[in-house]
Subunit: 642 residues, 2 copies
């Protein structure tokens, strides 16, 4: 193992050896309050402690403790309970890198010690399998989640080493990864895990350690997937992406989180093995998935039953699943493609997904979470079904709940918020690229020397982003600012007047002096957005967006006499914004008796009977802020008044 | 037990002691070919033998054989496997009544002997529970389906006795029902089955035997449901209708088949106990369910995950679940309300459901079946996932499959087709009511004497229905003919000229002479139908119907260059009908480049970009006949050209 100092300090989740843009480590990007800085603070103070409390209380951590004793124990939680502990370790590690504060209360060290003690002598580590009284190891590739848990352990170890430089967890991860290479190498078991996850973890471990065998093993898993080593189940082989080889697929399908984790790992393999064919296949999959299978919120996954993508243009707002973890995984996939290609569209989707999925999940107190993120809530969320441990047994359609039987989402939010700094900006030989806007300091080392930028903004409250050069090399370099895809009419001022800039990357190349400023102005007028006419479920409806935020109409903002289903939007009316809400003129429908008949399908004549309409003005809330004012119903897509 | 001859010969599934209309027994209604007569023939020759073959091959019948030996055995199939045997016994029994042919190959007797031998001394009969090596009896009210299976046994026994007069199965059923009364009476276990079914069975057993205790037990189960004796699960307590007492509920909710079986049983209890409050609640539930939660096909149940009703107006055509069994159960519920109230709307829904759900399920050869009945198939149905026994493990979204792991639907189709004659007509003191039109002979005994009617029609190929009086009492009586809700402009000719008749019941009262004729002409022009504007999923779409049949656009009828998603209907164009298809002018959309962007949500301006359109004429098929010509995609709701 040859870990260089540079790699140690490179506290970023994804560090490709090649690509258009290089990521910046968390140590080089500090957020200062604002939309995301506040959420990072919330993560530190509430979300992470909430998570470590729950895995302790439910004895998911206890599984690891008990496994270390060698004595018989009853496993608690689901088959992937170990992974929630690992994701929290990853989150705490990134927190260490982000804040520079060491493990103040010892939780991180305690978690790591417990899992390290539970490792078998040959490197295997899973608390549900392999002991004499348990199912044998590798007896259930469908649902066992063994390799999935290993992947999260490896990601946690990479994060921990990069953040802290301590080797204990990394040694566990390498021993585990070596075991995996032995068991599943080209002459080993011809199997893949039902849930992809380990692929990107193995590549990152290879990037950190310089050990090629981990990359090779990741490549084996990627190539093996789609060859039918998993069985055909009720949901089809597409459920675990075992229907078509990754390089032959044209769109994401099946279980959304599985599909997206797999795609992220496949990009990593393609980049490190210089496999352009594979990379092109993944770019095509991203394109088709975003053009046909993605919600306006960035949410992915239409189906509850199998937590899966729907067919093209099947994007019903009702009970849209849009699992929070799929949002996290989508960010992972897009981020890797952004680094590889430098195309701004990937950062566009990341922004949309961060604001409308990742930010939507946690409540303002950081102690309850949406698992699914529906676009249309028809009946107010009622009492959550809880099991004997007091955790919610329903992921989909629930309100924000403290913890779930399948509690993948809260720790995924935690590790994403903790590492968010690394998704804001990148560098290349010519300069620095800023992809996401937040009040922050950004440092980068480019060929001509160190660069430091100070970014002042209250985005997305306003669209003004001021970039001040704090430190700059003497020679010219480029500052590139992403102009989001929705930002038609953006301008940039760089000292010599104001220029209009089109969506994409706006670049300013020159010799900068410390103190010089760039001012990007993004147009923040609220806007109506209409769906492709092939999306049947929202035909004739409009959504309201402002900047990167999608807005929603929530029943608590309607007069009590008006039902959500009786509201139409007059798209000729103006939209005004103030203080987090968009004000909208709408029509309230008073249905004629003919429309209240016993059968809701009628001849053309009957259906055209005019309903009476009464105008009203109501505020719309930012989607990520809905369901914060008691029981309510909500819709993002609102029928347009004809 | 006092079974009168009259009851013996009353070979009908539902025989209320009171109500507006009285049912006619199968022995009094003979179908003569045509749409339904042919399907009854198919049922006799293919569907029933196919079912008895499968339950034999899979050893679901074998469970009963083995249980009789007292020796240890491995139970085959799911926890409700017994019930499929019982539904086939019911179907064979109705076949006996319908055709007058006794059990030619001995299958019926053999099945009955096997189940009778399996009964425990105290009356209990279920092959999965209660033996020393099995789970205890009544240890799983959630998923055990014990009382559910009992209900189907009782229904089979009632059918068998009414059809054949043999007492063996009836004795088994009464012993079982007595056991249930002992176990679950007012001083017994305060429990209900997770799946309602036994309620209507107990009422019918009471009707047959005159034993009040069975009715009392049914009433106990109805009153107990909704009091929270079942646990709160992921899908909510509404899943098994245990959220709200039956008499307090205003709409059907939760698992559709459970909700509909429960509602049918509750009508039976309301009628026999003269409980007008309960009956009114059920009428209200029917009204709200039909007005807000029913598909144009009559299908019920929007959700795959919990096979459940959606919220009001959640009727997505994509992956609409519309389980075949829910169609059967809906007919059961409506039929009971029709008998109780005499309102034609119940027969309207029965007709719609029979033509578009019950007739859709079986393939023309009677050897494969739709389990779910989607209204929009986006991708061609692929290979069915089969288990080691060769049965399909996926109910929803499959094509027609030979048999299912959960194979409730095929035997339900079988018992419905076998007893279909009893749903065509009724009588009351004043005369005869004809609710469904089919070439048939109908006999009824009314106060003034016997009536026999001959009905000649090729409905729904045409809308001409000729009713000839074959036998009539000397005094005046009434022939009432249902004019379906869609039949605006129907006429009736009764000798003295032609009269227009409105939807509802058209009555002709007079002294009839044998040989006299009534001619009902229903308007059979194909028509466009538009959805209530609160049904988001099909806003801006139209369906095409003709008579009681819903039509569908199937990809095999499109030019190969045209995708189903690119088709718009021009509602100003004419519709013509010939030989089972409706010919329709449609527009094929050639999308402009702006509409092929990478993100399917755009500003108002971009979205209004005109697509090029090319007119074409294509045939639409009757929905029940789709998926008979190889792999295809299909939609019922088609976007209307703006």
């Amino acid at each position: 193992m040859q870990i260089t100092d540079e790699k140690l300090h490179y506290a970023a989740p994804v560090t490709p050896s090649t690509g258009t843009f290089s990521p910046l480590p968390l140590t080089a990007v500090q957020l200062a309050g604002g939309f995301w800085g506040d959420r990072q603070q919330l993560n530190q103070e509430a979300i992470i402690p909430h998570g470590t409390d729950w895995v302790t209380r439910l004895e998911w951590l206890g599984n690891l403790e008990k496994a270390a004793t060698g004595e018989r124990y009853e496993h608690r939680g689901r088959e992937f309970a170990d992974s929630e502990v690992y994701k929290l370790i990853e989150a705490m590690s990134w927190e260490h890198a982000r804040t520079g504060q060491s493990d103040l209360d010892g939780t991180l060290e305690s978690f790591i010690n417990k899992l390290a003690a539970a490792q078998d002598p040959d490197g295997y580590l899973h608390t549900l399998f392999g002991r004499p009284w348990q199912q044998p190891r590798y007896s259930d590739f469908k649902w066992g989640h063994e390799l999935y848990c290993f992947g999260h352990l490896i990601q946690a170890a990479v994060a921990n080493y990069r953040a802290t430089g301590t080797e204990k967890l990394l040694a566990v991860a390498m021993k585990l990864a070596d075991h995996v290479c032995t068991m599943f190498g080209s002459s080993g078991l011809n199997k893949v895990c039902g849930h992809a996850e380990i692929e990107s973890a193995l590549v990152e471990l290879s990037r950190l350690t310089g050990e090629r065998r981990y990359l090779d093993q990741a490549k084996i898993f990627i190539e093996r997937r789609g060859t039918g080593t998993l069985p055909l189940i009720e949901f089809g082989q597409a459920y675990w992406q075992d229907d078509v080889p990754v390089r032959a697929a044209t769109v994401l399908r099946g279980h959304a989180v599985r599909a997206l984790y797999l795609a992220a790992g496949a990009v990593d393999v393609a980049v490190e093995t210089n496999d352009q064919e594979l990379l092109n296949a993944l770019k095509q999959q991203w394109h088709n998935t975003v053009a046909r299978r993605t919600y306006i919120t960035g949410g992915m996954g239409s189906h509850h039953m199998d937590e899966a993508f729907g067919d093209d243009f099947v994007l019903p707002p009702d009970r849209s699943y849009c699992e929070t973890c799929a949002g996290v995984a989508s960010v992972m996939f897009s981020w890797r493609l952004l680094l590889a290609t430098g195309e701004a569209k990937y950062a566009d989707l990341i922004e949309r997904t961060l604001y409308n999925i990742v930010a939507t999940s946690p409540a303002p107190d950081g102690r309850s979470f949406f698992y699914a993120n529906t676009l249309h809530q028809r009946t107010s969320v009622g009492e959550a079904p809880l099991n004997e441990d007091g955790v919610c047994i329903r992921g989909g359609s629930s309100g924000r709940e403290a913890w779930f039987e399948v509690s993948c989402c809260p720790p995924n939010v935690a590790r994403t918020l903790a590492s968010l700094g690394s998704y804001l900006a990148t560098s290349d030989e010519t300069g620095v690229q800023i992809h996401q806007y937040a009040a922050s300091r950004i440092r980068a080392d480019i060929i001509s020397g160190p660069v430091e930028l100070a970014i002042e903004t209250d985005y997305p409250a306003s669209g003004s982003i001021k970039v001040t050069i704090v430190e700059a090399p003497a020679t010219p370099f480029t500052v590139a600012l992403r102009v989001p895809d929705w930002a038609h009419g953006a301008t940039i001022a760089a000292g010599e007047g104001v220029q209009r800039v089109a969506p994409g990357m706006a670049t300013v190349t020159r010799s900068f002096q410390p103190g010089q400023q760039l001012l990007l102005e993004l147009p923040m007028e609220p806007r109506f957005t209409m769906p492709d006419d092939r999306i049947d479920a929202v035909r004739g409806c409009v959504a309201i967006e402002r900047g990167p935020e999608v807005f929603a109409l929530e029943s608590v903002d309607l007069p009590s006499s008006v039902a959500l289903e009786d509201v139409l939007v007059d798209v000729s009316s103006g939209l005004t914004y103030s203080d987090g809400t968009v004000n909208l003129t709408l029509s309230t429908v008073v249905r004629t008796p003919a429309r209240q008949s016993q059968w809701p399908f009628a001849s053309e004549t009957a259906a055209s009977a005019a309903n009476e309409r009464i105008a009203a003005e109501v505020p719309l809330v930012r989607y990520h802020s809905w369901a914060e004012r008691g029981a309510s119903t909500m819709r993002i897509w609102i029928p347009a008044r004809a």
